[in-house]
């Protein structure tokens, strides 16, 4: 069912060079243990050269955990040097702080169609997806994602288990008791985590999709190998280009449309963030869909936090009310 109180979205893929920093009112980013978290900001600085302007627009949310990793030290040093307009400590799942901060800034700004750049490369889904609500206030949102370089994927990836399962704020959907549930899994490298999650949710015949091409040449192959079991149980499988957020959104939107009188659609995106963003965008206008925020935690094998470096590519997705 459509949620008519929400706008129809206009979604476009842009080149990074198409972003005009002069139009952007705020740049939101997160500072964490992945060294790619500064890549977008650095590139904006390189492109426009005006550090002071960038500094005044930058709002940085700094995670309060994993402070000693090499990636984090790099990021801290960069942002200390940048001296952003606001630097706010947050926990992994704090979304109210992010939402309230941006809301207050926009009220203060008082502009009719403000533009916010959200670098979600290292943010948790509850933090960047909840910002989609600002589209309803006339905001134009520019989502940027720095594609990561992963070391030893498929060999040292920790076995994951399911922790707390939550729902992304703004993407709750209506419970629709009695409706059958159609789970849509966006798969990633963590095949064991996906399987554990499917087991916890007692999923029978999911829809599965993954990125191909993805961050690496053989991403699709690795994901399919890691998720062989859950893919074999799925009723529909498809792969999408990681860079084509709009195309993925269109596919997922069709699933929502096709099932709007028959099933509740539950998105369970596990894989890369552009895939999660596409799930959020597809779910936005439907009350019969939900986006889950499951926590996958290290289970049998403990592993250090991987330092995910940028591979040099940035995916840009612009969203505003149509």
């Amino acid at each position: 069912m459509s949620n008519d109180s929400r706008s129809i979205l206009s979604i476009n893929c842009l080149q990074f060079s198409e972003i005009n920093i002069n139009d952007v009112d705020y740049i939101i980013s997160a500072c964490g243990y992945e060294s790619r978290c500064i890549f977008v900001s650095k590139n904006l600085l390189n492109n426009y050269g005006d550090k002071e302007k960038l500094s005044k627009k930058s709002i940085v949310f700094r995670f309060t955990t994993v402070l000693d990793s090499p990636g984090r030290k790099l990021a801290d040093a960069y942002y200390d040097e940048l001296n952003p307009y606001l630097s706010i400590p947050i926990n992994t799942d704090d979304w109210e702080i992010v939402f309230t901060t941006i809301n207050n800034l926009l009220l203060e700004l008082g502009k009719i169609n403000p533009v916010i750049l959200i670098d979600y490369s290292s943010m948790s889904r509850v933090q960047y997806l909840c910002l989609l609500r600002f589209v309803e206030m006339g905001c134009k949102l520019i989502f940027t994602y720095s594609i990561g370089l992963y070391d030893s994927i498929g060999i040292e990836f920790p076995i994951s288990t399911v922790g707390t399962i939550g729902v992304v704020p703004g993407f709750e959907g209506i419970p629709f008791q009695g409706f059958p549930k159609q789970y849509v899994f966006g798969l990633g490298y963590d095949g064991v985590g996906a399987l554990a999650l499917a087991d916890r949710l007692e999923v029978q015949e999911p829809v599965c999709f993954w990125t191909d091409p993805g961050a690496e040449k053989n991403t699709g192959e690795i994901i399919q190998r890691a998720n062989k079991s859950i893919i074999s149980k799925s009723i529909i499988q498809f792969s999408r280009d990681l860079r084509d957020v709009v195309g993925t959104y269109i596919y997922l939107n069709r699933i929502c449309l096709d099932s709007k009188t028959t099933e509740k659609v539950i998105f369970v995106p596990i894989g890369p963030k552009p895939q999660i963003l596409a799930c959020g965008l597809a779910s936005w206008r439907y009350t019969h869909s939900t986006v889950l925020a499951p926590h996958l935690e290290g289970g049998g094998i403990t592993s250090d936090y991987p330092n995910i470096k940028p591979n040099g590519e940035i995916i840009v997705t612009q969203v505003n009310a149509a």
Partner: protein
Amino acid sequence: MDISYSEFGLPSAKNLSLYKTVEYFVPTDLYWKMLFSDGNDLIFGTRGSGKTMLLRMMSFSHLYKFSQSNTKAHEALYSNKRFGVYLSLGVDWYVTYQKNIDNQAIIFREGINLTLLEAFLKTLNSIIYSDVISLSNKEETERELVQIMAERWFRYIKVKPQSILALRTIFLNHQTILPDLWRFGTPPNETDEEKAGYSFKSNTLFQPLDSILPEINEILSLDHDHKWIICLDELENLHKHQSVMLSTTLRSTKGNLAFKITTLPYTFSGGETLFSEDATAVELREFSFRRLQYDPSDGEYKELANRIIRKKISSFPETEYSLIGEKIFGDTSFLTRAKLTDSSFEKQINQVKNEAITKRRLNDNSVRKLIPIWSIRFLKRMSAGNINPIAYSGWTTIIRLSDGNPAILIRILNDLNVKKDTGPIDPSFQHKVLSELATKWLEWSRGLYKNGNDLYNLIDNIGNQFQNRLHSTSEEDPAINEEISRFRVDLSVLNPRMCEAFKVGARHSLLVAEAEKSSVRYPDGMGVWRLSYALTPKYWLLPRRGKIANFASQLEMGFGRHEKPSIIDNEPVGVSEEIELIEEI
């Protein structure tokens, strides 16, 4: 580590259609007792024990469909008017919303009430337009009910609904608005609510429905105090403060609602409430606690297993359904399978029997109990050669390995490729599948929760210790005659992580807490535990109750005790305190 190691999971009734649920359902005594009872029932059942199926089959839509083919269901619906509303407390937002606890209580209460009333309206509509109750003018009744409900439940409504469908739409809209109102993580004020068009208000859980039922009963020509059944499923998803809130409400709600609640072991005590300690001391006396766990050697479970396989093999004549399992899997004992593996075993066993009777002066009954032990020892030794093992095969063994859990049985049958027209299945294939499944159950333990490795190690440690004793190569080892398969543990003195491993194992049917003194509660302190019989092929154990050991010191496994270490005896494994009935299988 092979990360693509296994397929997790058990079949689930959650996503079955109404038609399939009714088709697959096998009613049991517990189902009828709960359905016909006006009391509140709290059912503890492990994953796959059939909780969801049980509750869904009490809802009006399912019972109505079932009543078309079952006379008792017809009686429950048409004569006793057992009207049930099913509500699953899954991963929906009002359960998962987790921030400030005080505020969360409001969203939890409002969310459940909105969802329950919407589900209730759907049920009410079906009842009115069914032939279960006779009404002179159904449309008029609907309008009358809608008017009362809309006035009672909403502070104001701009356009008055004229039908249940219209009222349901208002509830659905409210369910959309509520989480939006909470977008800052704090409760909305009245101005915000009014702006958003949110006018529903409830004071306590279930109160909006409970308070209006006497009037609804009257309009529907039911007894004034007629009770409606509220089926609450999946309480295991609730956070602690939500459970406390629910327990408080359940203890104070005595009106026209009969609650049928299911949850996993160790997830909802029902005892902790917001009442004073003195009031809490009576602890849910108005509830019947039940444990949804079948004894795999019990006749009722065998009957259920026969019914389940009959549903899979529909080509078999209905009148002979109890013979299907035997026809497909055979039905041999461990002794027979040992003899079939190697004919020399017959001679060996006669010799051992004679020695036991003459030298050790054991009576026939004791010898009879030892035969399966000698047989499994032989079968394990033989499996080391090139022979395809058949140790774990046969219908009785399959039933036993499912350990009273219907979903495990269905998973076994699925993995054995049992289909509509399946013929006899080779015993060595049965053994292979059952052994592989046992390994999968063990691997499954890793993925169940954050510290899954604790549970894995616990199970593997216990399994290996039991295996080493049962299959000891020392001829003098008394364990040969002392089959130990259970152990006494006091959870209250274990390290919290170890305690959690036991509880997660119990929820997922990997560890079984045996009921002592016919308690239906899972032990919080001292209890007798065993491995699930589904795991026995992994360790070459017998799927039956053996002797009990005090196992505490062996179970520490590096985690250490939490407190009160002196409570547990340090008796070595094998010092049994109790000799249980050992059945021949």
